[in-house]
């Protein structure tokens, strides 16, 4: 469990994180989303005690991170896969981290295997691809078998095999009751791996919800219809209070009616239909709408502050 209370970080003139509060619960993969510069990395660094908050606090497993005696046994983190000394072997890199928390060589071998890099354990890290460095960073996060795991862009640089692997790993870790917190830009990836999302923009929390709730909060989706008599069909659908927009590539984007209703209308009037595709709302669409929303929020000040946020 990670609890962030009224967390604020101010650098000279910018407010990087602004009175942010949220809770990351065990047993879920929680996505941490936001545009560049939203304050994701700053927040992660404050969770790990690397940056000191200007005000507010973070509790990890009910304690402050800096007071943990062997933190790796409670919290594992991958912040930057490139943050390794290129001259050190993968095994030595993990060993020096493990030793600082009283973790033995046996566990180093185990995490090398879990991450699938045991074959290159004695090779210098400088020669690793980004994908292999990601695996090394994930191995380091797993060293202490921690109940809380924090990953910043873990999919970066991974090949399709690696992506499959990390999806399985994240959900397995959450399935074991651990708290899994994943910052990412990749909406399609988060849609697959995350159960919950925390969305921030401009240092503020803008949503904290399950992925399903979050997606529903965005645009409701629509139906794409192609027909040689598009104009006639559009008129009939508009009569039934549907909103019909002609797409630039041809075809009609219909919202307010579902595919069966559109199909019945077309059939009743002998209008041929070449394509009828239900387009479900996506995480990405909901996210884009919300991020645009923060732009609006900045423009009209007070208005929509609490939208989707925790009370």
């Amino acid at each position: 469990m990670i609890e962030v209370h009224e967390l604020t970080k101010r650098y000279a003139s910018t407010l990087a994180v602004d009175r942010m509060s949220f809770r990351v619960r065990p047993g879920h993969v929680t996505g941490f989303l936001g545009p560049n510069g939203a304050g994701k990395s700053t927040t992660l660094r404050m969770i790990l005690g690397l940056d000191a908050p200007t005000s507010g606090e973070v509790l990890v497993n009910d304690g402050r991170y800096v007071s943990l005696v062997r933190p790796l046994r409670q919290v594992g983190a991958l912040l930057d896969a490139n943050a390794v000394h290129g001259g050190r072997s993968a095994a030595d890199h993990l060993l020096c981290i493990a030793q600082s928390n009283g973790i033995g060589r046996g566990r180093v071998r185990e995490v090398l295997q879990i991450a699938g890099i045991d074959q290159v354990a004695r090779k210098r890290v400088g020669g690793f691809s980004l994908g292999m460095k990601q695996r090394l960073g994930i191995a380091a996060a797993l060293l202490g078998d921690p109940a809380v795991l924090i990953f910043d862009e873990p999919v970066n640089g991974l090949d399709p095999d690696g992506i499959q692997w990390i999806r399985g790993l994240l959900s397995a870790l959450a399935g074991e009751g651990r708290t899994v917190f994943v910052a990412s830009h990749l909406m399609s990836e988060m849609a697959i791996t995350a159960d919950r999302v925390i969305v921030i923009g401009r240092g503020k929390l803008i949503a904290d919800a399950s992925v399903a709730e979050f997606v529903r909060s965005g645009s409701p989706g629509d139906v794409l219809v192609r027909s040689p008599r598009a104009a006639d069909l559009a008129r009939l659908l508009t009569d039934q209070h549907a909103v019909v927009i002609t797409e630039p590539a041809g075809g009609l984007a219909v919202s307010g009616l579902d595919a069966p209703a559109i199909s019945k209308t077309a059939a009743a009037h002998d209008i041929p239909v070449y394509e009828l595709t239900t387009r479900r709302p996506t995480l990405e669409a909901a996210y884009m709408e919300l991020v645009d929303g923060t732009a609006q929020y900045r423009a009209d000040a007070a208005g929509r502050a609490g939208r989707g946020g925790r009370p």
């Binding site: 304690g63 991170y65 912040l79 943050a83 050190r88 030595d92 009283g102």
Partner: protein, 266 residues
């Protein structure tokens, strides 16, 4: 909840073992110290071989300092070695992993100082004694006014000067580490290590009088004083105060680093 209780001794040992793994697992450690050894011994042999025995002034000729003359330059390697022990972590970003694994940053710094300092001390002593014996071997073949130029460890002040030279390299290692921890950038820290020489030049230029006391606080000259058996330059500190000056430099820089390390974001 802060996890299981772990004794302070166990925590300290964990940190020392971890820092030792870091130090021994990169090639630059061996390259720096072996390079320093080769250079120090080589320069010592060369200096001894080029001593002119005609009209030798026995009041100023220092057989110990002659054999250790390579250490004047090699100290830079030790300073850089100390600085890199921490700036390499800042340069790569590894420092965040280190401080996330051990939030007690002063303990990390202390462990790093202990391990890096110990490596600097052992290497410094080995290099000093090797350069001394190499130089004396050459000097033993030379004579002036019927006397052999070489000395042995049993002669007055010799053991102190040779062991003291190794100690000085240990101090410079810690000075480098302190500067590295304060500056947190490799290039800046290396430039700061170079200030050890520049400090001596500046003090020399500003206080040229032979009886000036300003030179008593110059690190480079404290090192020269410790590693010589003839104290013929009046503005060098005496041997006991030279040791005190050395310790003060390392202590002040490491204390400053320790003060700053918890006050800055990693």
């Amino acid at each position: 909840m802060t996890g299981p209780t772990v004794s302070a001794a166990t925590r300290a040992r964990d940190l020392l073992v971890s820092e030792w793994t870091k130090l021994r697992s990169v090639r630059s450690t061996y390259l720096a110290l072996l390079g320093a050894a080769a250079f120090a011994v080589g320069v010592g042999l060369f200096s001894a071989a080029t001593v002119r025995t005609s009209h030798l002034d026995w009041t100023t000729f220092d057989p110990v300092n002659t054999s250790l003359s390579g250490l004047l330059f090699v100290q830079l390697v030790f300073g850089v070695f100390g600085a890199l022990a921490i700036t390499s972590e800042y340069a790569t970003g590894m420092i965040r992993t280190t401080f996330a694994a051990v939030p007690r940053r002063r303990a990390v710094l202390a462990a790093k100082a202990t391990v890096t300092g110990a490596a600097g001390l052992v290497a410094g002593e080995v290099i000093s004694f090797a350069a001394f014996f190499g130089g004396q071997l050459v000097l033993s073949g030379k004579h002036s006014s019927g006397r052999q130029l070489s000395v042995t460890l049993a002669d007055p002040g010799v053991l102190r000067a040779v062991a003291g030279a190794g100690f000085y390299l240990f101090i410079v290692t810690l000075v480098g580490l302190g500067l590295g921890a304060i500056i947190r950038h490799t290039a800046g820290a290396i430039a700061a290590v170079g200030l050890i020489f520049i400090q001596a030049l500046i003090v020399n230029a500003v206080f040229p009088e032979p009886d000036s006391r300003a030179g008593h606080y110059v690190l480079l000259w404290a090192g020269q004083s410790i590693s010589s058996i003839r104290t013929h330059v009046t503005n060098y500190p005496s041997v006991p105060s030279a040791f005190a000056v050395c310790v003060a430099y390392a202590a002040v820089l490491l204390a400053t680093a320790g003060f700053l390390v918890t006050r800055r974001d990693a």
